[in-house]
Amino acid sequence: MDAQLPALVIVVPLLAALLVPLAGRRAAWGLVALALLLAFAGCVRLLVRAHALPEGEAIRYALGGWAAPVGIEYVVDRLNALVLTMLSGVAFLVALWMRRSTAREIRPPAVTGYYSVFLLMAAGLMGITITGDVFNLYVFLEIASITAYVLIAMGRRRQALYAGYSYLILGSLGATFILLGIGHLYMATGTLAMADIAAVFAREPQLYDSSVIRTAFAFFTVGLALKMALFPLHGWQPGAYAEAPSATSVFLAATATKVSAYALYRVAFTVFGVRFLETGLPVVRDALLVMACSAIVVGPLLAIRQHDLKRLLAYSSVGQIGYVVLGLALHNADGLTGSFLHFWNHAAAKGALFCVAGALAYRAGTTQVAALKGLGRRAPLTAMLLTVAACSMVGVPLTAGFLTKWYLARGALEAGQWAVIPVLLASSLFTAVYAWRLLQLAWFADEDGPVAEDVPWSMRAPSLVLGAACLVLGVAPLALPVAQAAAEALL
């Protein structure tokens, strides 16, 4: 079975997603949780195996028995094992978390459908991450996109339909660009397997000057930037996160945009190669640097002005994706390490924060920031969760967020990009402003509201795991060796 793991971690959630509509509601939830638990266990195993491999090697799996480039292959190396573990872990926690939440937010006949779509989305994101074939990446991108649209549109308010629709339009635009990129790439290289394309580039370096290749890269970059809501292409994101059902928000915010960022890393480093970034189209690198830096500053700045907690967090995500992309623009081991660490760090923090928003929606029926008032007394554990996650977002030392900033700053100094340091600091300050506002309400507001109990344990426990991760990842460098090795392998 160990050899079949790469296929199984995707196929098992897919299988469960197909069985869920045929099952009863209670059994459906059990199936979801079980499938994701199995997938998570498989991903952890893959991470361990990938980390034990010697430099430059990866776990390869030929689907259908056809070795690449004739067939499609799955390739697991340290980088995507890291992302896969994050994805399946968060998905499993959200699956545990969402049973009570969906019962309140999704109309009962649609719940099993919601579970099924949720599983498909998780499997789609994991499929994007694990694949070593650019067209297969697109297929799973489609699965992940369509499911995301509807997971958003199932929000309780009418605006959710509009939010889902605007994501549909922009997301389809992005997907089309990505498809155009794939088409151009195939036209110039005659193959779709990532490793094979890279080999073609190594054999024929003059391809880097081809306008087809440059167009392909530009399309990939713009398409993926749209999907990951990189400033200024973030327009779809705040509405989407704000209107979606709570469980969708938690999962989307913690994982979805990061997978697109991962895809950009994969395309830029594995497919096109480091040399292309350096010599082929350096303007894209500079553009990404500018976009990432503006995102890092503008995201939290916009977040400060929001009154809806989920919308606030969405704008903060606009900023945080900048950290994930910054490493690509900085283009050295430390910068990449920082960004890779952020895959986990931000997933934990943002997941926890959206869990708080979900708890608020569950108990108070609203996600207005003002509803946080007195949370510290009503629900001390949830308030602690908010505190820890917010500290991690700010980058307080001893939380996970600090490590990201530390490595990014080191990378920036190493790359001679001194201007990035003030950007990082300004972002921390702006983040501190809105985090402070939230915590002020939660802990120090005058207590006049009625005392209500905390959310049920089935929701509290998974969210506390995410909160604990913010602390544990800040003190015990679980992901660090993998991230560092992955960064060095890419360069």
Partner: protein, 160 residues
Amino acid sequence: MRSTDSLIVRYIARRSVPFIQLYALYVLGHGEDGPGGGFQGGVIFASSFVLLGLANGWGYGRRAAPARLLDPLLPLGCLIYLGIGLAALLAGGAFLEYGALAGSDDPEVRRHWHHYGLIGIEVGVMVTVSAAMATLFFEMARPARVQARVDRVGEEADRA
């Protein structure tokens, strides 16, 4: 959608259904040797119900392809596909390695099983595609009157 007023159109639509479906099956089977396959076959198969719906009214078409039939068929096609893939995996090959279904190393036998596997997945594709296309049509075209009733039933179900 209301039915057309023309009796001839309605009659011909009804009578052409079996021929369309037969053609769809032909397209499915023909995929090995020429243009065609499960996807196209599925679309054509679904179009027979679409034609019924367009010509004889939404309700008529829906009765021919009711939701309680289509809803389980939707995942079923994919399950066939996935099931074949998993069966190959359990038989010792890679996921979707149809040859492994043979359970022997004889290249001739393996090639036969490759063939069966290919047909199997095409059938799966056809089931899902035809169910999906028909579902899409009937959900989108549902008349306002029926929609109102469904809403009411849904709300009652919510309350229960």
